[in-house]
């Protein structure tokens, strides 16, 4: 079975800017994959190359075995991409747009049942005959997602689909996308909401300045980079040097430590006792992707 997406040594230069510096990444069919990274890391550039919207300077990408440049027709047929920007065609209503979009991919009337399913699943059914122009921002976002799904692609790429979207829609959207994933669709997601990636995605890739800096299952990443999170309220103090390396965040007298195992709690507390720093409050929690993200991506930038 061909991988859903295979990225091989992809570079992209925009003039003197080296936006992608040799990306290698394989995403298997049926995966729910998250691509994370700060703004400007190159996520959208990578997705645009995948979608054929821009050309790579070097390297190649294939979708289920079809090269996105040389076999673009087959590759694009298998791919549904939700663009990041909220774009729409003001001349048509939602259903017309979906029919057109499916039609571009060679789908005709036999596809109408699927279009209805999308409209239903994304809560757009009662807006089917509303002109795109008259939709609210959230509804436009739904329509944008619906358009990417109109030809029922096996590989679905969502570029920041929940940016500026309310909680209700986010939940509805993820329910729908999870369903598609269960039916065998491969999902690739970029998002700023790390808790979304953590809750949904089985594997995560993190990008920074045009490179992939971490690639592993969500569980492994969480274990590897930060087992536990210890939040201590200490007030305005200076930490002893031997526990400085565990410190992740310091804010208004609240110190957050990333611990690899429980034994380190004692280490921290002992060090504080030794210099007579009093613990005012203490919280222990599981690390989340944000901690991983910060430790990998956040600190240097």
């Amino acid at each position: 079975m061909n991988p859903a997406i295979k990225i091989n040594g992809v570079h992209k230069n925009f003039g003197s800017l080296h936006a992608l510096k040799g990306i290698d990444l394989t995403i298997e069919q049926g995966e729910f994959f998250a691509l994370l990274g700060p703004n400007g890391a190159g996520k959208s550039t990578l997705i645009s190359i995948l979608a054929g919207l821009i050309k790579p300077t070097a390297g190649d990408i294939s979708v289920m075995g079809f090269d996105v440049v040389n076999q673009y027709q087959q590759a694009r047929q298998l791919l549904g991409v939700v663009p990041q920007e909220l774009v729409f065609d003001p001349f048509f209503n939602v259903r017309e747009m979906l029919r057109f979009q499916a039609g571009y991919f060679g789908r005709g009337k036999e596809n109408d049942a699927w279009v209805d399913e999308i409209l239903e699943g994304l809560g757009l059914a009662d807006k089917a005959h509303t002109n795109m122009r008259k939709l609210s921002g959230g509804m436009k976002r739904r329509a944008l997602i619906a358009q990417a799904l109109a030809h029922k692609p096996p590989v679905i790429v969502l570029d920041e689909p929940t940016a500026g979207v309310d909680v209700e829609l986010r939940q509805m959207l993820w329910e729908f996308i999870k369903n598609l994933n269960n039916q065998g669709h491969t999902i690739i997601l970029t998002t700023h909401y790390l808790e979304e990636a953590e809750a949904l995605c089985s594997r995560v890739g993190m990008m920074k300045q045009g490179e992939i800096v971490a690639l592993d299952s969500t569980a492994n990443l969480l274990n590897k980079f930060a087992g536990k999170k210890l939040r201590l309220t200490l007030g305005d103090v200076t930490l002893p040097a031997n526990i400085q390396s565990l410190l992740r965040k310091q804010e208004k007298g609240i110190f957050t430590f990333a611990l690899n195992d429980m034994a380190q709690i004692e280490l921290v507390l002992a060090a504080l006792r030794a210099v007579n720093i009093k613990v005012l409050d203490m919280q222990l929690s599981e690390a989340d992707l944000e901690d991983v993200f910060l430790s990998l991506v956040g600190k240097a930038s």
Binding site: S48, L53, V87, R99, Q101, G108
Partner: protein
């Protein structure tokens, strides 16, 4: 609202459905706003006809035996055909680019040739619909005889194809509405007004006659008019080869632009 349903693509091969859908969308786009895209240019042409015929009839000598008003009509029809073919492809592309919704087409498996064909055919149809509209209305006022309908149709098709193609080039090239307006105001308008719509170039001083002969619009208007009266400023074969040749050259340039992804795929 239901014109989508009028065109049935159920029995079509899936490979043809893509370009067909794009053509259908392009046609609906201008048809939905036909008041602006069809009725308005028809009215404009009729105003020209009314004013110029009133002011110039009897003052301007065109071909022997052809009254000025009759002479004017084919020129006005062809000028509108050309301008509207250009307007259709260029405005659709620039709007989609500025709005950002061209991405929906760029994400599809449509080939560069299919993309070209859909925009081209839509432009031709818009041009022809406007031309036909002017013809039908003008028939009320003036008796128009058509000597060679085949020539009329050929020039209308080729001329709208040429300008539709030029519109695609302009739409790909321009990034902003003002750049597109520059195309309209500095290329399309001067070339169409100085093409012999309102006069026979034989009435011009020799220098201006020569200059007019460098204007491709002149051959489109003259060839089209030849189909009506059986006479013109130059032979229709000359016009046909120049217009046909220009179309082929522009079409090849456009296809090359689309294939390379110029301005559309970075």
């Amino acid at each position: 609202m239901n014109n989508t349903k009028l065109i049935n693509s159920t029995n079509m091969k899936p490979s043809l459905r893509g370009p067909w859908t794009l053509l259908k969308k392009e046609l609906l786009r201008f048809w939905r706003i036909a008041f602006q895209t069809v009725a308005a240019p028809v009215i404009t042409a009729l105003l020209y006809l009314l004013i110029f015929a009133h002011v110039l009839a009897g003052h301007v000598q065109v071909y022997n035996g052809v009254p000025y008003t009759e002479f004017l009509i084919p020129g006005l029809i062809m000028m509108s055909v050309l301008q509207n073919a250009f307007a259709n492809s260029s405005s659709s592309l620039i709007q989609s680019k500025v709005m950002g919704n061209l991405v929906f087409v760029l994400l599809t498996p449509l080939t560069h040739f299919q993309f070209f064909a859909a925009f081209l055919i839509a432009a031709i149809i818009r041009g022809l619909v406007v031309g036909l509209g002017i013809y039908l209305v003008a028939m009320w006022f003036v008796d128009i005889h058509v000597t060679n309908p085949l020539l009329v149709v050929t020039f209308a098709l080729l001329g709208s194809a040429l300008l539709g193609t030029f519109g695609i080039i302009a739409g790909i090239w321009a990034d902003r509405f003002d750049q597109m307006a520059a195309f309209q105001n500095f290329i399309i308008m001067p070339l169409s007004f100085l093409s012999g719509v309102f006069y026979s170039i034989h009435s011009l001083p020799p220098f201006w006659q020569k200059l007019s002969q460098l204007n491709p619009f002149f051959y489109m208007i003259d060839g089209f008019r030849y189909g009506f009266f059986g006479k013109g400023d130059v032979s229709p074969l000359v016009s046909l080869s120049i217009v046909g040749g220009s179309f082929l050259v522009l079409a090849l340039i456009t296809l090359k632009m689309l294939k390379s992804g110029y301005k559309l795929r970075a």
